[in-house]
Each structure stands twice: as structure tokens, then as C-alpha cells.
Amino acid sequence: MHNNAGTIRDVALRCRDIVPNVLIVDDGSRDADLRELMADTGIPVIRHSTNRGKGQALLTAARAVNDRGGATMIAIDGDGQHYPEDLRAFLPVIAEEPDAIVIGERDMSGPNVPGSSRFGRKFSDFWLRLETGLPLRDTQSGFRAYPVRHFLALVCAGRRYDFEVEILARAAWAGLPIRNVPIRVWYPPAAERVSSFRPFFDNFWLTHRHVLLVTRRFLPLPHRKLVTRPALQKKRGGAFGFWFFVTAVRLTGLRGAYGLLFIVCSWYALFDSSIVRTALAYLERRFPTHGPLRQRWNVYQLFIAQGRCLIDRYYLIHGGRRLRFHACDFEKAGPLLQSKRGFVLLTAHVGNWQSVIIPLQGFRKTVHLLMRPDEHDLRSQKLGLYHQPDSIRIINPAGYLGGAIDVMNALDAGDIVSVMGDRDYDSSRKVAVRFLGGLAHFPVGGFVFAHAARRPLAVLFSAKTGPYDYDVSIAGVIEARPGESKSAFAQRGAQEYALFLEEYLQRHPLQCFLFQDIWSGIPNQSNQSAA
């Protein structure tokens, strides 16, 4: 704290009511002698003789806590804006995840909250999202718990307010979990406010720090991990720097955003070996004669194509209306679409698969998407992507019995249930069928639903055919034969589906966003040529 003599004694004593060990760092205050002020309380005060900045004060505190054998340090501002009683919210989270940084997320709904604080918070959260790829919340809040050992191991350059954002970025890179707990915040009326934050200089240094951190994020150097966690499913939507493109679309429109893809996609094609490997699993089967350099070029093209589809989707979600979705070959499923019976819609990770149901909306059927509802922009998608958001429902495959009951009820009610046919949410059952010259695993979920409910499946793919044009075509309809057993139907159906997909990939080879080696793990794989 710095120049907060008016409040510090009260804050420190209230803290000690909740946690036994309290420590004050006096960052060169000139308004009072804190040692004297706290003398009768027994609460130690460490003093910087000059004002050295908040980051340095936190470091001093962390060293002192470490020396005293403490494992966790909770930092609270001395100016009275934080309520020491909110310490209680941190304790269970720390106990559960001792490696985590816990941020007190301020409730900004109260009176006297300056607009600049609200903006600053959003701005800071935005930068950290760029830097870490994580949707961190309230990254400017100073009320936080730090694991001391990790805190001291993270090397930060900033020493002032920029320290607090820098340490979050570095902690995220190092693999530390970052959690939030809700806290209250008190803003005094403007006249009584004491803050050491200097709007111009501190904002300048913050921006400077953010620019450096973003640059660091995109440098191809590994980050030292302090905590290794079981590999999280890495989401490329985030890795593509989605927010970066969001801004670009706003500023320059669709084509401007496409232009930026060149940088990011070259980046991933050159340096992100894990995703390149999954892309090559497909490309080497689709283009068996291409050499390594040509394949790298294909990888890059594939990334560009996916980037464009992502941007298009963002554009749609935010009300863009220039994209056209052409319904092709819908007559193949004519009777199905007109009838009152439900069916299973089998799609694939090709083209803009999230938009395949747009042309279906004319048929007045409710569509249930079997997908995890935490998909990042689902809510906005429902609001913006579909013209009739009420006709879209979500069935969570992670829900009770994999959503089986909901799926069956939907099909019985004459609705459409949309399922991914090429790879799905970690479902267990797959069959091996011939695909692009080898045996590949395809999930059987869609076929099992269709067989049980005695409904057909319609296979639907989307393809980007021009800057503003998509074709959404029905490749075919697959239906169980009378008396055909479930497993026989799943095997035959998956094979038919694989052939439809192969046909599609003959025409649109660089719109396959499967990014998974579905051929691996099957014995007797040789480089058979495609039939």
C-alpha cells in the first residue's frame, strides 16, 4: 500500500479476524509512519524507503511470506476498496487447488463505480485473452491469492501496475490454473478517492506491457511449465486468435480479416506440429503423391480455408447478411423434409458445418444439435446464426445417458437430430470402414439412433464455393433395411457415409477440417490405393 494510512489499520485488523498471519508492505508512504501506527497490533510492516511500485511491493511481500514458511499469499489493497471479509471466499478455492492463482472478481454493479474502471477491466481482459487464449475475468483486480512458490518462480519485467497483468499471462503460460471468486468492491465518491493509479503513465506502461506479452505469445519458444496438468483438449477456435479476427472484421470487413489469416496460418503451418500432424493424416491419404513441401503447402491452404470459415461464422453471428447458403440436391430428401416424421441429420467437419441447418429452416422443423453446450459461442450463435433461434435446441451428449432420452423423444416428435458422422464427442463405439484408401474409424451414434427410432438418416455437407457463397447439399439418405440388425446397419451405414464423404472430398479437398487421425489404431493398414 502507498499513502493509505487512513484505512490501513482497519483493513489489517479485519483481515486478521479471518486469517492469522497478516503482513503490511509500505511502499514508501509519506503520509504517516505505519510502523508506529501498527505497533500495538503486532502486525509486521515492511517498508520501502521510496515508492517502488505495486509489483515490487508484491514481490517483497511474497519473499517475506516465503521466509516465514507461508505457501499462499492473498494480496488485498490497503485503500479500503476491498472487504477483508471476502477473504473467506478465497479459502476453500485455495484449499482445493493450491497451485491456482485466485482472482477476486469485483461486483461492479454498485454506486460510484467510475466508467473508466469498467472500461479498463474489459480492456485488460481482452488483452489477456489475446495473450493467453483463456477467457480470464477481472484481470485488473488486485485482490488475489498467489501460490508463493510459483509466484517467485515466475520472472516478470513489470514492477508497477503492469506487473499484475504480466504475472497472469506468465502464470497461464506456465500452466497454473487461474480461478475467480466473487468479491464486493467499495468505490468512495469521487472527491474522497485515494488511488496511486496515474491514468496516463500507468495506462501507457500497461499498453506497452501488453504489446510485449502478445509478441511473446506468438514467438515460437516454449514456455517453462511450473504445473503440468493432464493435457486439456486444445481448442483451435481459441488458438486461431479468434478475438484478433473479431476486431479485424469490425475494422476492415470480411476481406480484411481474411488477409490477416495469412500471418496466423503460416504460423501454425510452420510451428504447431501437433495440429500439422493431424492435418497430414488426412492430406497424405487424399494426396498420396504429393511430396513433403507440397503437403506443407496443403496444410497451410487447409488452415486458411478453416480460418475463412471461422471468420464467416463470426460474421454471421454478428448479423452479417451477405453470405448466401444454396440448398443443393434437397430433392434427394424431398419426402423426408416434407413429411412430419423426424430423421437423423448426419454431417461432417467439412466446410462451414455449423451452418448446414440454415437452409433447413424453411422446412419448419425443430433441429436438435447433439453437442456440448459449453461450445464457446453457442449462445450468440443461437441468437445470430439462425433466423429462427427457437427452432434450434441443444442436446448435451455429456448429459444423462448421453442425451439418449432426449434424442429419442425428439425423433418421436418428428424433429431433426443433428449428429457428427466423422468424429464425435469422445463416444466409445466406432466401426472401421474403408475411407480414402485405408480403414478408418467412424462413430456409430447416428446409426444407432436411427435404427432404434426407425428413422432414416440424411447426410448433409456444406462447402464454401465463393467469397460469399456456400453450397449445402444432401449427399444422400441412408435407411435400415427391413430386418437389418443394428450392428449390420451401423457397419453398412458408416461405409455409405464414408463414400459420400469421399465423393465430397474429391470436389472440395481442402475443406476437410477433421483434424484427427481416424486411421490410426487399426491393424493391417497398408497404403492401398483408393478404390
Binding site: P397, G399, Y400, L401, G402, G403, A404, I405, D406, V407, M408, N409, D412, S427, S428, R429, V444, G445, V448, F449, A452, A453, G483, S485, K486, S487
Partner: protein, 107 residues
């Protein structure tokens, strides 16, 4: 259909037997006979080891054979536990607690 004047206590064992037969035939459980299924054995996960795709079959089986529609996951959670919970639910709710022979069975 043909369950005149049977009390619930008399019905339950018959329902259990019928259910086990239906499960084995519908789910093509090859290494298990109806007699080997325990009345209170968990149907999903440990126990019988069925998964969510099998749940689809059971939902359909209840509908076609017993005229029962499970409308929500909560009901599902309560009744799809074991043969016992299923049989109880059928005895209390089904218009046709001993089931009818479905066309699939006759093949």
C-alpha cells in the same frame, strides 16, 4: 393385455423375467443369459456395463413393449437403474405390464 386380477406382488417377478429376456434379445447381449442378470444389478456403468447407446434401445423397448414414454432425464435417472426399478415402474404405469410380442422378436 392378459393380466387380470394379478396383484403387484404377483406381477413383479413376471415383469422381471420378461424384461431380462427383452434386454438380452434387443441388445444382442451374447455372453449373458437372462437368468444371469441380477434384479438389483446396475444396468449402466458397472454391473451390466451398458452405455448410452444401449440406453436408446431400452427407451425404445419400454415404448414398444410396455407403452411407456420416458419424457425426461429425471424420470430416466429414477427408473433406469436396475431391473427392480424398471419392473416397479412398469407395474405402476404400464397399460400392459407383461409386454406384447414385438415384431422384431418373432423373427
Amino acid at each position: 393385455m392378459n393380466t387380470p386380477n394379478l396383484s403387484k406382488e404377483e406381477l413383479l417377478p413376471k415383469i422381471r423375467v420378461r424384461l431380462k429376456e427383452l434386454l438380452v434379445s434387443h441388445l444382442a447381449l451374447e455372453d449373458i443369459t437372462p437368468e444371469e442378470i441380477g434384479d438389483d444389478e446396475a444396468i449402466f456403468g458397472e454391473g451390466l456395463g451398458l452405455d448410452s447407446l444401449d440406453a436408446v434401445e431400452i427407451v425404445v423397448l419400454l415404448q414398444r413393449n410396455f407403452g411407456l414414454n420416458i419424457k425426461d432425464a429425471q424420470t430416466g435417472t429414477d427408473i433406469l437403474r436396475s431391473i427392480d426399478t424398471l419392473a416397479n415402474y412398469i407395474a405402476d404405469n404400464s397399460p400392459n405390464p407383461l409386454g406384447n410380442a414385438s415384431p422384431e422378436e418373432q423373427k
